[in-house]
């Protein structure tokens, strides 16, 4: 994203046009009038949003504003919360994922998730990455092996672990663990990857590596990332959504949000005046 300084003006305009073109594509995720309650507490207050394919969308906002809740709607991870209630529609590839006959397990193969705290299984590195394939009933050893290798390569972990694939995933460093978790998600070839503060538990170098990775992954996947780090949001995302108290205050191109936000609340938040 640093290119614009070096390039002649008209090329920048072309780049912008490409982004505009992608705006017209059918949305990967379409959210309409979604409301969420935990018991009587309303955590999401009627949100509409469209997320384009092959983009990185950042969710920002103060703690408790509903970013995680909203993100976890996309792979129905809130279903496990007893007090969770939801209204509205969420379509992924034009299919309503909250319809009764939706197979949640199938949905989650399509919509992968990376969590705040690296959470590898207490199994070997190989087994961690192969896990998703194995639970799908895939038995072909050669296929699994290739997929494990390619996934680890995608997250740039292959060279570090290729001689130790039988070592426990828990023996890796925090940053390596998080990349392992991303590889595990990639191995089942989802089309969307949800990330909930994936770097908040990591050191700056590991964080930089993951940011680089996200930039790479965008070519193949649609990425939605929750972050408290404004620089991170501005560095890696194409679109940014600002949430406040369960409402979507502003949703626009990242550049616009960070240089020329239309709401005062957004500006206050990104300049660090509250939150």
């Amino acid at each position: 994203m640093e290119i614009s300084m070096e390039k002649p003006i008209d090329e920048v305009i072309v780049l912008d046009n490409i982004i505009d073109l992608s705006l017209k594509k059918t949305p990967k995720i379409a959210v309409s009038n979604v409301k969420v309650w935990y018991d009587d507490f309303q955590a999401i207050k009627g949100i509409d949003m469209e997320i384009k394919p092959n983009t990185v969308t950042a969710f920002i906002g103060p703690s408790g504003c509903g970013k995680s809740t909203f993100l976890r709607l996309f792979n129905r991870m809130n279903d496990y919360v007893d007090s969770f209630k939801m209204e509205g529609k969420i379509k992924i590839d034009s299919k309503n994922i909250y319809k009764k006959k939706i197979n949640v397990e199938e949905l989650r193969k399509e919509v992968g998730m990376v969590f705040q705290k690296p959470n590898p299984f207490p199994k070997s590195i190989f087994e961690n990455v192969a896990y998703g394939l194995k639970i799908q009933g895939i038995k072909d050893k050669k296929f699994i092996k290739e997929r494990v290798e390619s996934s680890l390569k995608q997250v740039a972990l292959w060279n570090e672990v290729k001689d130790n694939l039988n070592k426990s995933g828990l023996a890796l460093s925090g940053g390596q663990q998080q990349r392992l978790c991303i590889a595990r998600t990639l191995a089942v070839e989802p089309s969307i990857i949800l990330m909930d503060e994936p770097t908040s538990a990591l050191d700056p170098i590991s964080t930089a590596k993951i940011e680089e990775l996200i930039f790479e992954l965008k070519k193949k996947y649609t990425i939605v990332i929750v972050t408290h780090n404004m620089q991170q949001a501005s560095r890696i995302s194409d679109y940014t959504a600002f949430f406040y108290l369960g409402a979507l205050i502003e949703f626009d191109k990242t550049k616009t949000i960070f240089t020329n936000p239309s709401k005062e609340q957004t500006e206050n938040y990104i300049t660090g005046r509250f939150g």
Partner: protein
């Protein structure tokens, strides 16, 4: 003033710890001395190889194997019964049951462990044995099968409760990781949660075995008093504990050979349960390190 108070508390805590250790050492000492005297008259080889245990008869044999087999047989039956039941309960409670149900059912299950064992023994003798005799007509009135099953019921909470704690303690993140990958509840439970909690589950099983091996009342009442080297669960047998009760309650002479047999039997039992408890302690220790 404050200093003195702390000093007094510290010293009294130390004293209670020392008393406990002293008592333990005392018990081991008495056991060892009497056992030593026993083995000055009975060869240790006979003790472990003779297949008969008849110290109370005129024709005396001192082979521990019949008592040991009785103990292991009843314990095995108990575990074979309690393990699948206890484990299923723990997995159901931790992974499937609603929170409120789990909260009420767990203490109720733990009640099973606080029923006086004499009640269990009686239950085995007058309810379970007659019931089983309806299915297996050959079953003796005293047998290891019904004693073992009832003992299994008694140790279910050891397995279900401790395993459930272990399953419940598996970090939420791990569950989310599995669900997030598209694993079903069943796959998550058996391929991720149970393996992650395996050391806790093993500890629960070892404690249950240890409890079964040391159990006295049920086997004394329902399994009989006939030392017999057999794997047949339908005939009367005798366990180490039941033998000790039998001799302690009978009128053998203090200091006699018959009297010393209970120490030899006792130390055998002690070694077994001690090894099992150490094993569970060691596993727990290792497990803690792993999660730090």
């Amino acid at each position: 003033m404050r200093k003195i108070k702390e000093l007094v508390i510290e010293k009294s805590l130390l004293t209670s710890a020392l008393i406990t250790i002293a008592v333990t050492i005392g018990i081991i000492l008495v056991l060892s001395i009497e056992t030593f005297r026993f083995f000055s008259e009975v060869s240790i080889i006979d003790f472990f190889t003779d297949t008969q245990w008849t110290p109370l008869f005129t024709e005396k044999h001192f082979g521990i194997l019949p008592l040991l087999s009785g103990t292991l047989l009843t314990s095995f039956i108990a575990i074979a019964f309690a393990l699948p039941v206890g484990l299923s309960i723990s997995i159901y409670l931790s992974e499937y049951a609603p929170k409120s149900f789990r909260k009420t059912i767990k203490p109720l299950l733990e009640l099973l462990a606080s029923v006086p064992t004499v009640v269990y023994g009686f239950f085995a003798l007058v309810v379970v044995t007659p019931f089983l005799q309806g299915i297996f007509p050959n079953l003796s009135g005293f047998n290891s099968l019904s004693a073992g099953i009832v003992m299994g019921i008694m140790i279910i909470p050891y397995i279900s409760s401790i395993s459930e704690d272990a399953l419940h303690a598996v970090p939420k993140e791990l569950r989310e990781a599995a669900f997030g990958m598209g694993a079903t509840k069943l796959q998550t439970a058996f391929k991720v949660i149970v393996p992650a909690a395996s050391s806790g589950i093993i500890v629960s099983i070892i404690l249950a075995i240890s409890r079964a091996i040391g159990e006295t009342m049920i086997v004394a009442i329902a399994a009989g008093q006939q030392p017999r080297l057999t794997l047949d669960p339908t005939v009367p047998i005798e366990t180490i504990t039941a033998y000790i009760v039998q001799v302690s309650l009978g009128d053998v002479q203090h200091g006699s050979m018959e009297y010393r047999t209970i120490f030899a039997a006792g130390i055998t039992l002690f070694v077994f349960t001690f090894l099992l408890n150490s094993l569970s302690y060691w596993i727990r220790k290792k497990y803690q390190e792993k999660y730090e």
